[in-house]
Amino acid sequence: MLAARVLALADDADRAAQAPIARAFQLFLLLHVTTRTLLWALRAADRPGRYLLAAGLAACGLAAWRVPRYARAATVVALAILTIKLADSFPTTSNHFFIEFLCIALLALCNIEQADERALLLSAARWLTLIVFFWSGMQKVLYGTYFDAAFLGFSISSKPSFAALFGWLVPSLEVARLQSLRPLGPGVGPFAIQAPLAVATANGVYLFEMLAPLLLVIRRTRMLAALATLGFVFCIEVGALELMFGALFLNLLLLFLPRPVNRMLLPGFAALYAVLVASRLGILPRFWFN
């Protein structure tokens, strides 16, 4: 059957570790959507209903964690809550949310207590990761703003965080030129960068994003590709302080490892989210992250 064959491409040769991997993925996702929804609620003091959604998701996470036999029911409730969030945030819903939503939908669909359904969940989540990663690269090609690093140049010119992160790729005179391209207006530019290192990096990004999915499908190269992709995503997301998306995508990539590394790292992600929420609440020093 075609569907089974397609899914098998992303399956493991040995399914022994799938149970703890799937369980850790389930708990991580419930923790992640709870944190994201709480941060979303904190952004709008005039929308108390958002806190209710966050509280509902927290209850789902707690139920799934403490009473594993209710875990699947908890994901079904979480999916219903996220549907409300989707309706509330549309059309400015982030693509990040869509990934969370699909992953929770997969958890609601598949019973991870059963080996075949667990394998279905993990294969589907891996395919989702591959599709998102591949298209992130392909879209950069289609938009054409990475060949001459124009998008990077624009970002350096307009965002100090980008200038701090990627400024070392570009000679200081070029950085100064890019930062002088203000105020923005029709005709302003060019944002293209001459520095070979910056151009190579910009082109390397989409090449990696398009090539890595292929290497992640092939079982022989999966492990190495997963480690390389984890490093790549970690550097970009931490550098850009896209911490929430970074944590989600790292956990999706951890699904490609043959051991339950995601279970080992779960307390670390929980601690990270506690720090982020505390920072947003002002309990810890505030800093910008997304």
């Binding site: 397609v6 982030s94 599709i131 992130s136 054409g144 703003t145 530019g189």
Partner: protein, 139 residues
Amino acid sequence: MTLAAKQRLVVAALAALALWPIAHRALVVQTRLSPWRFFGWAMYCTPKLPVMVELTALRGKARMRLLPGALSREERRAVQRLSEQRGVWGTFATPARLAVRLLTSQYYADAVEIAVTHWYLDPATARIATQRYDYTYPR
């Protein structure tokens, strides 16, 4: 639901997910839909740039530019809303509702013209370029 049915459902959803970015790209080109929204995975491909709205009242052959100072607070909000909606929906967001509002307040005008200008980073020149859409609404 059987395992086979679930597998078919999942693969169908994944296929839709894999093909949607092609349609998304076509929609962005045709309608200036936001590349950052609607799950096309085109974030960080092109910067989010403003959408400008210019209003002109037409009476006979005379053209009178409607500057923000000449508008009521509600009209200024409506202009801001149109700018934001265009940034997300592209040409799917038409200025028709704003035009109705303006034709009511600008009672002397035979028509109103609404020019919507999208800024974008032109990959050919690496400079900020614009695409303008003109809408004329007669009374």
